[in-house]
C-alpha cells in the first residue's frame, strides 16, 4: 500500500501553520509534540500507522472553517477524524497533512420530539444519541457494533450500518440535515427538519464519502419511537445451507426482522468460550433473529418464524423469554471479534457484501482458500442483508503471515464482487480496499466519481490517498474526448 509522497513545501510550512492556528485556538488544541501526535497515528486499522504533521482540535464550526481556509491557502492536506474507529484506514493521517480531530464538537444541541429529530455535533457518539432520547422512549436506529465509541460524524463519513439496518436502514436513510464546511472554508447547511432537500442530493453523496468531500460540523438525525417489544430467536442448523435457506424463507414469507445474524461453527465456539451465552456447540450454523414491534405482532410473527425454522430442520431453537435472555443471545455475537481475538494472536476482519443466495458458494470457496493460504477463518455474517465479516486468523510474529492474510482477504473481496456483491458493506474503502476499486469499477466509473470530488475540493486537499487507487488532477479529468459527429446507427427508427 502506497500513500502519496510527502510534499516538502507542505512540511516547510509547519511552524508557520502552527503559529496561525494558535492565533484562534488554545495551545492544547494544536498538537505538535511528537509523542502526543502518536495518539493519532492510526485508526482501527492498526496495520498502517503514520503520525500527522500537526493535529488540530477545534471546538466550533467557525474554527473548523478558519482552519480549513488556512490549509487551503497553504496548499496543505487535511485528514478529518471522528473517534478513530474506522476499520479501513479512512482516518489514517498523512505525514505532510493536518489531522482535524472533531472530538471536541460533542454536544447534543437540540431534541425535537414532535418532529422526531435530534440536532447533534459530529463528536457525539452513536450510543449517546439514543441515550439522550431514551427517557422519552425514542432511539437512533443505526447501531454499528462500535456504537459505544464511534461518533455520529464518523458514521456519516462512513455511512455506517449495524444489525438493525435491514429493517431501519443505514446512516444515509436516517440523516435529515447536515452542516458541512467545504475545503475552502465555506459553511453550507443542507436539509433540516423537513424531508427531501431541493436540488442535487448533497446529503446523499456526503454520506459515505469517507471525509473526501467536506467536514461535517452538525448532524440532524431522525429518531424513532422504540418498539413496544423486541424478542430474539436463537436457532441452530446442521449446515450453513439450511441456515441460509431459512433466511430466504423468512423474507419470502414477507417478514423483515429487526436483525438477522448468522455465525459459523468456529465463530460459535469462540463466542461460547469467551462469554458463555449458551450457544449450541453441535450446530454448524447459528441464526440470531430479532423481531420487534407491538407485542401482539411479535407474538404472531414469532410463531410463523418458529414454524419456518422447524421446517428447515433446525437442530435447536430457543425464543427469548425476557429482555435479559434476548441480550444474552446477542452478547456472543457482539463479542465475536474479541472472542476470536482470544483464539488467535491476530485476526484480519473483512467486510464484503454478497447476494444472500450465494452464501453457500462463497463459504465453500473461502474454505478452499483457507486451505491454500494455510490460515483459518471464522465467519460472522449479517444474514439479512448479505454483509459478510470473515475473520482471518493469523500470527503477525510468524514471518509472512500478515501478507498471506492480506492476500487471502483481497481474494475474498474479489470473490464477493465476482458473485454480484461489493467490496465493502459498512467499513468503507479507506486505504485498505483502495487498490481493489478497479475490480468493481471501470476507469470511466472511477473518473466520474473523482469529478464529483473535484466539484467539492478542486485541489484534492481533503483526505487524499483514500478510496481511489489513482490520484488525478482535476484539470486532467476535465478533458473530454468525442469521437466524430457521425450519425450513430443510421438504420434505427427515429421519429
Amino acid at each position: 500500500m502506497q500513500m502519496p509522497e510527502p510534499d516538502r513545501a507542505a512540511l516547510g510550512q509547519r511552524s508557520e501553520l502552527v503559529a496561525r492556528f494558535r492565533e484562534f485556538l488554545p495551545s492544547d488544541s494544536v498538537v505538535v509534540d511528537e509523542a502526543a501526535l502518536r495518539a493519532f497515528e492510526c485508526d482501527g486499522l492498526t496495520a498502517y500507522r503514520q503520525p500527522p504533521m500537526i493535529a488540530v482540535l477545534p471546538e466550533t464550526t467557525a474554527e473548523v472553517s478558519r482552519m480549513l481556509k488556512l490549509c487551503k491557502a497553504a496548499g496543505v492536506k487535511v485528514v478529518p477524524r471522528g473517534a478513530g474507529t474506522s476499520l479501513s484506514g479512512g482516518a489514517l493521517p498523512l505525514a505532510d497533512g493536518v489531522l482535524l480531530g472533531l472530538a471536541k464538537l460533542n454536544r447534543v444541541l437540540e431534541i425535537d420530539y414532535p418532529n422526531r429529530a435530534a440536532v447533534v455535533q459530529p463528536g457525539v457518539t452513536n450510543l449517546a444519541i439514543s441515550q439522550a432520547v431514551e427517557g422519552e422512549g425514542f432511539y437512533y436506529a443505526p447501531d454499528p457494533s462500535s456504537q459505544i465509541a464511534c461518533s455520529i460524524g464518523g458514521n456519516v463519513a462512513e455511512n455506517s450500518g449495524g444489525v438493525h439496518c435491514l429493517k431501519y436502514g443505514l446512516t444515509t436513510n436516517n440523516i435529515l440535515g447536515l452542516e458541512v464546511v467545504l475545503m475552502d472554508g465555506e459553511v453550507i447547511r443542507l436539509g433540516g427538519r423537513h424531508l427531501d432537500q431541493p436540488g442535487y442530493d448533497l446529503i446523499g453523496v456526503l454520506t459515505g464519502s469517507e471525509g473526501l468531500l467536506g467536514v461535517v460540523t452538525e448532524v440532524t438525525v431522525r429518531i424513532l419511537r422504540r418498539p413496544e417489544v423486541a424478542r430474539g430467536l436463537l436457532v441452530g442448523f446442521d449446515s450453513v445451507e439450511a441456515g441460509g435457506a431459512c433466511v430466504a424463507d423468512i423474507i419470502g414469507a414477507g417478514i423483515i426482522p429487526a436483525g438477522m445474524e448468522m455465525m459459523d461453527r468456529p465463530a460459535i465456539h469462540a463466542a461460547e468460550a469467551f462469554c458463555h451465552p449458551g450457544y449450541p456447540l453441535d450446530a454448524e450454523a447459528l441464526l440470531i433473529i430479532e423481531l420487534d414491534g407491538p407485542a401482539v405482532e411479535v407474538d404472531h410473527l414469532t410463531e410463523i418464524v418458529r414454524g419456518l425454522c422447524e421446517k428447515r430442520g433446525a437442530v435447536s431453537l430457543r425464543v427469548s423469554a425476557s429482555e435479559t435472555e434476548r441480550l444474552n443471545f446477542w452478547a456472543g455475537r457482539k463479542a465475536a471479534f474479541p472472542a476470536v481475538g482470544r483464539i488467535s494472536p491476530d485476526y484480519y476482519c473483512m467486510d464484503g457484501t454478497i447476494p444472500r443466495a450465494r452464501l453457500p458458494h462463497v463459504l465453500a470457496r473461502m474454505a478452499e482458500m483457507s486451505g491454500k493460504y494455510g490460515l483459518r477463518v471464522a465467519n460472522v455474517f449479517h444474514a439479512g442483508d448479505g454483509n459478510l465479516h470473515p475473520l482471518i486468523l493469523y500470527d503477525a510474529n510468524e514471518p509472512g503471515e500478515l501478507e498471506r492474510a492480506e492476500d487471502f482477504g483481497a481474494d475474498i473481496l474479489r470473490l464477493c464482487v465476482e458473485v454480484g456483491g461489493v467490496l465493502t458493506g459498512e467499513h468503507g474503502v479507506g486505504v485498505e480496499k483502495r487498490d481493489l476499486m478497479g475490480t468493481m469499477f471501470t476507469e470511466v466509473d472511477l473518473n466520474q466519481q473523482q469529478r464529483l470530488k473535484c466539484a467539492f475540493d478542486p485541489d484534492g486537499l481533503l483526505n487524499p490517498g483514500k478510496v481511489f487507487p489513482t490520484l488525478h488532477r482535476c484539470a486532467e479529468l476535465g478533458r473530454m474526448h468525442i469521437h466524430g459527429g457521425r450519425m450513430p446507427f443510421p438504420d434505427l427508427p427515429r421519429f
Partner: protein, 404 residues
C-alpha cells in the same frame, strides 16, 4: 424539423449523446413524457426518449431486489411485484394525471430521476432511499455505473443518491436496480373527523411518535375531503384526518384499536378497511383531491409540526386549497396561476423547508424558480457538479435551474 431519438440499447444511447455533444445540440431526456410538465421546460430542441430501454432484467423476491431498464413502465414493475406480494415501499405517485396524461405512472427511470415518494415517505424513505445502483450515460457520452444490487454497500461515492432528483441533468439512465419490500398483509385506516389543520398536525405528531408504527398520516380540510371517491370521507361533511396502519392481521387490528382509543375524545372516529383504505391512499398519493381544480399546484416540504398552521395561512393569503400529507410535513396547495402562482406567499415561513411548483403554464414555470432557490455556495457547488457530469450542457439544460 425535430429529429427525436429513441435508442434501443445502452450503446446506442451513448452514441445518441455523443452526437448531441459533437453537434452542440442539447437533448430533452424523457421516458414516456408523463412528467414533462414537472420542472422548468428544458432548453432543448430534440428529445431523447428512453422508453425502448425497457423490461425487468432481474427479480429475486427472496433477495428483495429488482433491476429494470430505465424505460420500463411503472405499471409493469408494480404488477410484477404484486404477483409476488411485494411493493416499492416508497409508494411512488402516479403523477401523470395532474399533467393531463391518461398513462399516469410513467417509467421507473422517471420515478427515480424525480425522486418522488408517496404517503409512506415519512416512515419508509423516498425513492433515493431505495435505489441501489444504476447504469447510464453521462453528458460526456460515457457509459458509467454506480452502486450495485446489494443493500449494504459503501464502495465509493453514493452516486445513486445524486441521480435521484437530478431530473436527467447528470445522466441519461439506462438501467436501475432497486430494493423492494414485502407488501403488508392488511391495511386499515383510522379516520378522525372535525379537527382544524393545526390541531390535526399536533394529533399526527402524537400518532407518529406513538409505538403503533403508522405508515400514513394525512389531513384533508372539509372542502377537499368532499372530493374523495371514498364514501366515508366524502360524506363526512367536515375535515378528515387519516391514520394508516399496515402489517400482519392481528397486529393491524390491535394498533387500529389503540389509535381509535387515543383519538376517541377528539371528534368522531371511523375505520376504513380493505379496498376502501387502499383507494383512499392512492388518491392522496396521486393528488387526486386537487385534480379537478385547474390551477397551479405547489408541493411544500417543511417541519411536520409547522404544516397545519402554514396551510391555514397559505390558503387565506392565496385563496387556494390544499391538504397535508407526511404527518404534516408535506403540503399540496392549488392556487390560481396568475403571473407567479403566488410564489412569494408560498415561499414564506418554510422554516428551512422548500416549495416546488409542480404544475403551472410554461410561462409561469419560466418566470418562477420551480425548485426552491439554493443558497449561493450550494448553488455554486451544484453547478460544478453538473459541469463534472455534463460539461457541454446537453442533458436537460435548464430543467432545474435557468441556464444550467
Amino acid at each position: 424539423m425535430r429529429d427525436d431519438m429513441k435508442p434501443l440499447n445502452e450503446e446506442h444511447l451513448r452514441e445518441c449523446v455523443a452526437e448531441a455533444v459533437a453537434g452542440g445540440a442539447p437533448l430533452e431526456v424523457a421516458g414516456q413524457g408523463t412528467k414533462r410538465g414537472f420542472g422548468r421546460p428544458a432548453a432543448a430542441d430534440r428529445r431523447l426518449e428512453l422508453s425502448a430501454l425497457s423490461g425487468i432484467r432481474l427479480y429475486e423476491p427472496e433477495e428483495l431486489v429488482m433491476s429494470a431498464g430505465a424505460g420500463t413502465p411503472l405499471d409493469e414493475i408494480e404488477a410484477a411485484l404484486a404477483a409476488k406480494r411485494q411493493m416499492l415501499a416508497f409508494e411512488p405517485p402516479h403523477l401523470g394525471r395532474i399533467y393531463g396524461h391518461a398513462q399516469a405512472g410513467g417509467t421507473i427511470g422517471g420515478v427515480f430521476a424525480c425522486n418522488l415518494a408517496g404517503p409512506r415517505r415519512f416512515r419508509a424513505g423516498a425513492a433515493r432511499d431505495h435505489l441501489l445502483g444504476f447504469r447510464g450515460v453521462s453528458g460526456r457520452a460515457e457509459i458509467f455505473k454506480s452502486g450495485g444490487r446489494v443493500v449494504k454497500n459503501v464502495t465509493g461515492y453514493d452516486l445513486s443518491k445524486l441521480v435521484c432528483g437530478s431530473f436527467g441533468t447528470l445522466a441519461a439512465l439506462s438501467e436501475v436496480t432497486f430494493k423492494v419490500l414485502p407488501a403488508p398483509e392488511k391495511t386499515w385506516t383510522v379516520l378522525v373527523f372535525g379537527l382544524g389543520a393545526t390541531e390535526a398536525a399536533a394529533a399526527m405528531a402524537e400518532a407518529a411518535g406513538a409505538p403503533h408504527e403508522v405508515t400514513g398520516l394525512c389531513h384533508l380540510p372539509a372542502a377537499i375531503a368532499m372530493e374523495s371517491t371514498v364514501d366515508y370521507v366524502a360524506g363526512a361533511g367536515t375535515s378528515v384526518t387519516a391514520i394508516r396502519v399496515e402489517g400482519p392481521g392481528p397486529s393491524v387490528e390491535h394498533r387500529a384499536g389503540a389509535l381509535k382509543a387515543m383519538f376517541a375524545g377528539r371528534g368522531g372516529v371511523e375505520e376504513l378497511h380493505g379496498h376502501r383504505s387502499g383507494e383512499f391512499w392512492t388518491e392522496i398519493r396521486d393528488v387526486q383531491p386537487l385534480l379537478g381544480r385547474d390551477r397551479a399546484l405547489w408541493r411544500v416540504s417543511l417541519p411536520a409540526t409547522d404544516g397545519g398552521a402554514w396551510l391555514d395561512r397559505a390558503m387565506a393569503e392565496t385563496g387556494g386549497d390544499g391538504y397535508l400529507d407526511w404527518a404534516g410535513g408535506l403540503v399540496w396547495l392549488a392556487v390560481a396561476p396568475g403571473d407567479d402562482a403566488h410564489a412569494a406567499a408560498v415561499r414564506q415561513g418554510l422554516n428551512g423547508g422548500h416549495a416546488t411548483l409542480m404544475r403551472a403554464p410554461d410561462g409561469v414555470r419560466r418566470r418562477v424558480p420551480v425548485f426552491e432557490p439554493e443558497a449561493t455556495p450550494v448553488a455554486a457547488l451544484s453547478r460544478r457538479i453538473k459541469e463534472g457530469f455534463d460539461p457541454k450542457g446537453v442533458l436537460n439544460p435548464g430543467r432545474m435551474v435557468e441556464g444550467v
